[in-house]
Amino acid sequence: MAEPMGFFTDTTVCIGCKACEVACKSWNQLPARAGGDPAMSGQSYDNTLRLSGNTWRHVKFVEQFDRPYEGRWLMLSDVCKHCVQAGCLEVCPTGAIIRTEFDTVVIQSDVCNGCRACIGACPFGVIDINEVSGTAQKCTLCYDRMSVGLEPACSKACPTDSIQFGPIEELRKRAHARVEQLQAAGETRARLYGADPAGPLGGLNAFFLLVDDPEVYGLPPDPALPSRNLSSSAAASTAAAVVAGAVGLVTLRHNRMKDVSEAEAPHRDTEDSSPDGSK
């Protein structure tokens, strides 16, 4: 495998211009929603609202104000995190989702059959069905561009370098330095999200610098793999099956049934007006 590649998104220099969104749609030829004229959302300047099968970048806007003019306006360009341990990849029953030589996670559109298991499995709500292809789609980290040595379209278009593309190791170093700088400047809420290889999901190959709790940005504080529930859930179900089986055995076994039927039959016949199908 080549060196792991990915994104470091420094939200403190994101100007919410959405160039990344447009660049992604343009490069990947993804259609606009509602023919380009959807309803306005009323949620700040965010009219995209979510990542989906035909929106692989989504710039989020958080207005934090106590009083008029007194507050912050946070922006974050959201994208697939290319998790080192990826929930989507884990559950995909067709093998459509693969890990590439760049340690990125890509859905092969010609393999996916649209079962949507990956949608609910992603801890970040990244994937959705693309109505045109009928398959699940998400950011490919511009696998096509990367394969020929080009930078992904979104980071290339980002005017402020809020989205930085590069080898993960290098990006992590840069990110830590930036957090230190912010901390030193008094922004004590500055932190990295997903930069820790020992952290959740083995780290994210698209990680973020935040200046508030992840929830504020609509990100899960402690994302986890869906398989965390597999053994417990399977065990509980098996136990239930065993219990139900036992009940069945107890209630339906030939001998036992006869005993009981003798005790109950008369009572039943008088009370029940139904046309009994016995013999």
Partner: protein, 896 residues
């Protein structure tokens, strides 16, 4: 301040973001908390239209501050490089003396030939002049009013006909002059010389500029700033302290502004106030300093350099006008040449320009065809022309790259356009301007019947920039060549094709004419066909002009050898031996095969970053103008950190090319191209009787100014006063706190003032209680022609909205996303409410004022449609440059 840079100039905003990572402090002063504010350390909210109060407050705060008085840097810079020490005519009276007006205010009478200059009043600026002399501002025509619209001597020699008598002497002699005064025109220029201004280097004389401005701004205290602008005092002081702390020897601060400063009845003065402040802080001519005009359309800078402006010809030379004494070439040169400063070379610029217009037909005998050149007769700017159109005085209009049906006062302009005989629209889409005859609101409402419109409208589909090659000039005056990426679809043609072909046909039409007025057409040089000898073949659409031929024409060449391009404007001559359309661009194309605008070599990382091999910045590829000021008077860098251009006393120079005489050692060198006579020593004195740069000393960095100084006080050139003064916008909810007797600028432009469609709300009109401003969104572009047809953009901002605060929303029972009705005395429109804390209620002079704002990109065509915000604005504008006041007016907001 004065722009929403992150949203409107996102790519340029890369650099503030880089600076932020380097620890720079960013400040945003804006009525709204925008995406720019979100990136800044400080956001100071101010009411739209109150910038001069804020900047005046900063000026007052700065000159009274401990730091400014104690750090010798400021005094040294101000005393040497600005006109702080210059004495002003003792009869000058300030607004502080005259209740809000300057000395010289008088009535304005319209010119009967063209009654669209629209000034409310006018000034005779005689008393604003430097004591005992007159310093001209000729040649610098950002100012439309300099076309002679005001028939008073505005301080320029031979300004207007009516005021001719006020400047007798040398100028009079020259204009009466004999034909043997040129070419060459050296004698003429020399005859224009004036005595040098008088100064008081101690800055104590009560008539010196510094004392005048100190008095002028004394009442602009933080308390007053808070009362007028609504910006909390502590915020204001925080801004002032940050600015002070970041100016000086070792640090510089920059201002970036755009149309939040220009679109006012006092727009030029707002910018002037910032310039004044930056001069006081020593922030001009230095890296990281200055005030940056963030320009609008992609090549709007280019369109003023090689102008589409009515009042200037290429390179900021005034357009010959019927309103001034411009009868002959000599008259024109006499009136417009500034004998001191680099502008003394104007005869060379103009003659080379005329050669470019009329080629071989232009000879010294016929004044190089000067008489064939058209003249203007008043304000032909956008709104003036529209007002004239409404009066039936304009018959046809070619509308290229503009969408006036929505982009200024909509109903008034559509009404005017309905009076045209013909209208040509050349655009990428059927814009509102092209479809107004059947889909405008007044037609849908039945107020106007289609049958009653006699205008014939022609539509020409246009190419997009990526479909042809050419150059852009960006906001840094930098020309950048762009290449063709795709073929245009269908019958789309470039704009050059259209004009080139139109020109050819008109030339043909006039070819047989014997009328003297058509001589110009007959002699016009109009051949820009591609030259196969240079390997240039026809473009995809045949019949188009060749871009490189056009660039060559602009750059200039030797008349007798058109293949020898001019290497720079230093080579220009006033005898016809050089041909050059635009002197400022001279040097960008020094030889065929050396198109410097196509350079794309960035500086290596870590270099100081002048990027001299990226594109080509006029003049002479200089990146920072007036960069002599980046060194102290002795020629040393102010500090190591801020080193840019400096004097190297040891450098040897080649001998004088003409005389062969040895040149003394010493040279200006640096990272940038020095904006100074390279061999002029810092201690050089003006040459007695010297013209041009010889009249300036080694410490006069502002080489385009007659006195080589940065002007704190503007003695000439502006029609609304020498010092920026706070006036309220044409529509305001409050009285002018500083000048209760003078609510608004006494001289601003107000067109169609007696027409019903252009009425203004009175001060404090209860029917229109809220302050409204208009602006742009990153997601859209202007009138929408370049965004509302593009689904990837419309989905990002699909609907027109109004931003309003929670207080107003609660008061009116408006919830987020409700439809609301917004009204002004001109019109009412509908939009969705976006309720937010990013805009809101302000306390102005003790009154609670709701501030609202709207993006103005919508119209009825395209994928995303909405009401036209400009249906609500008025035709009022700045008296200097005729731009409309789209940034501050009054409205009412109700739930629809």
């Amino acid at each position: 301040m004065g722009s929403n840079m992150a949203e409107c100039h996102p790519v340029a905003f890369r650099w503030p973001m880089k600076a932020k990572l380097n620890g720079a402090k960013l400040i945003h002063v804006d009525p709204r908390f925008t995406r720019t504010s979100a990136m800044c350390d400080i956001h100071a909210p101010i009411r739209a239209g109150s910038d001069i109060a804020f900047l005046g407050g900063l000026i007052n705060y700065v000159i009274n501050s401990e730091r400014w008085s104690s750090d010798p840097f400021f005094k040294e810079y101000v005393a040497n490089y600005t006109n702080a020490a210059t004495l002003i005519n003792p009869s000058y009276k300030d607004t502080e003396d005259l209740d809000g007006v300057f000395s010289g205010l008088m009535q304005y009478t319209e010119h009967p030939e063209w009654p669209y200059n629209a000034f409310l009043g006018q000034y005779d600026p005689a008393t604003w002049q430097y004591a005992a002399t007159q310093i001209g501002d000729q040649g610098r025509v950002a100012n439309t009013a300099q076309s002679g619209e005001q028939r008073v001597p505005s301080g320029q020699q031979g300004q207007a006909r009516a005021g001719q008598q006020s400047t007798p002497g040398a100028a009079g002699a020259a204009s009466a002059g004999t034909t043997n005064m040129g070419p060459p025109f050296d004698a003429l220029v020399k005859s224009l010389l004036k005595p040098a201004p008088r100064t008081d280097p101690t800055l104590r004389d009560p008539h010196c500029v510094f004392q005048i401005l100190k008095r002028h701004y004394a009442r602009y205290t933080p308390e007053v700033v808070e009362q007028i602008t609504g910006c909390p005092r502590q915020k204001f002081i925080q801004v002032a302290d940050t600015l002070l702390a970041n100016s000086g020897r070792d640090r510089t601060s920059a201002f970036a502004y755009a149309v939040a400063w220009t679109q006012h009845t006092i727009g030029v003065q707002i910018i002037g106030a910032a310039a004044l402040l930056q001069l006081l802080l020593g922030n001009f001519g230095r890296p990281g300093g200055g005030i940056m005009a963030l320009r609008g359309h992609a090549a709007i800078q280019g369109s003023t350099d090689v102008p589409t402006l009515y009042h200037s010809i290429h390179g900021y030379m005034p357009h010959p006008t019927a309103l001034k004494k411009h009868d002959t070439l000599r008259d024109y040169l006499t009136a417009e040449t500034l004998p001191t400063s680099y502008w003394a070379n104007m005869p060379k610029f103009l003659v080379s320009y005329l050669k470019s217009m009329y080629g071989a037909a232009a000879t010294p005998e016929n004044d190089f065809g000067y008489d064939w050149h058209p003249k203007i007769l008043g304000d032909h700017s956008h709104m003036a022309t529209m007002a004239a159109m409404d009066d039936g005085r304009v018959h046809g209009m070619i509308c290229i790259g503009q969408n006036p049906a929505t982009s200024l006062n909509g109903p008034a302009q559509r009404r005017a356009m309905r009076k045209l005989d013909w209208l040509v629209v050349k655009d990428n889409w059927l814009t509102e301007t092209a479809t107004q005859w059947h889909s405008a609101p007044e037609i849908k409402d039945g107020d106007v019947k289609i049958e009653d419109i006699k205008t014939e409208i022609f539509f020409f589909p246009s190419t997009q920039v990526a479909e042809y090659e050419g150059s852009f000039t960006n906001t840094q005056r930098m020309l950048q060549w762009h290449h063709k990426a795709a073929d245009p679809p269908g019958h789309c043609r470039t704009d050059t094709w259209f004009y080139y072909q139109l020109g050819k046909r008109l030339k043909q039409a006039y070819a047989e004419s014997t009328l003297p007025r058509d001589e110009g057409w007959k002699n016009l040089v109009w051949n820009y066909d591609p030259d196969p000898a240079k390997g240039r073949s026809e473009q995809s659409t045949s019949g188009d002009a060749d871009e490189l031929e056009l660039l060559k024409e602009i750059n200039g060449f030797y008349t007798d050898d058109p293949n020898r391009h001019l290497a720079g404007f230093g080579e220009l001559k006033d005898d016809g031996s050089t041909t050059c359309a635009s002197w400022i661009y001279c040097g960008c194309f020094p030889a065929f095969g050396r198109n410097l605008t196509a350079q794309r070599e960035p500086d290596p990382p870590g270099a100081p970053g002048a990027q001299l091999r990226w594109g080509y910045a006029w003049p002479a590829n200089r990146r920072v103008l007036y960069n002599r000021a980046s060194a102290d008077p002795a020629g040393n860098p102010w500090s190591e950190r801020k080193r840019w251009v400096w004097w190297d006393p040891a450098a040897t120079n080649p001998p004088n090319a003409q005389t062969g005489a040895a040149t003394p050692n010493g040279k200006w060198i640096g990272y940038d191209v020095p904006d100074f006579t390279v061999t002029k020593a810092p201690d050089a004195k003006p040459k007695p009787g010297g013209v041009g740069l010889d009249a300036l000393s080694g410490t006069d960095p502002f080489i385009m100014k007659g006195d080589g100084k940065g002007w704190l006080f503007v003695p000439t050139g502006l029609v609304d006063g020498p010092l920026p003064t706070h006036y309220e916008p044409a529509e305001s909810p409050v009285e002018n706190l500083l000048y209760p007797k003078q609510q608004v600028s006494p001289v601003f432009k107000y067109w169609a003032r007696n027409k019903e469609y252009n009425q203004l709300a009175k001060v404090g009109d209860a029917r229109y209680p809220h302050v409204i401003t208009t602006y742009r969104l990153t997601e859209h572009y202007l009138a929408g022609g370049m965004s509302r047809w593009l689904p990837w953009l419309t989905e990002l901002q699909p609907e027109l909205f109004i931003e309003l605060g929670h207080a107003l929303a609660n008061e009116k029972g408006i919830r987020n996303l409700d439809m609301v009705k917004i009204s002004t005395p001109r019109a009412s429109i509908h939009a969705r409410a976006l309720v937010t804390d990013r805009i809101g209620v302000m306390t102005i002079a003790g009154k609670l004022i709701h501030h609202v704002g709207m993006p103005w990109h919508w119209g009825w065509e395209g994928l995303s449609t909405g009401d036209v915000v400009n249906d609500m604005t008025a035709w009022v504008g700045d008296p200097n440059v005729s731009i409309h006041e789209g940034k501050a007016f009054l409205c009412n907001v109700e739930k629809a």
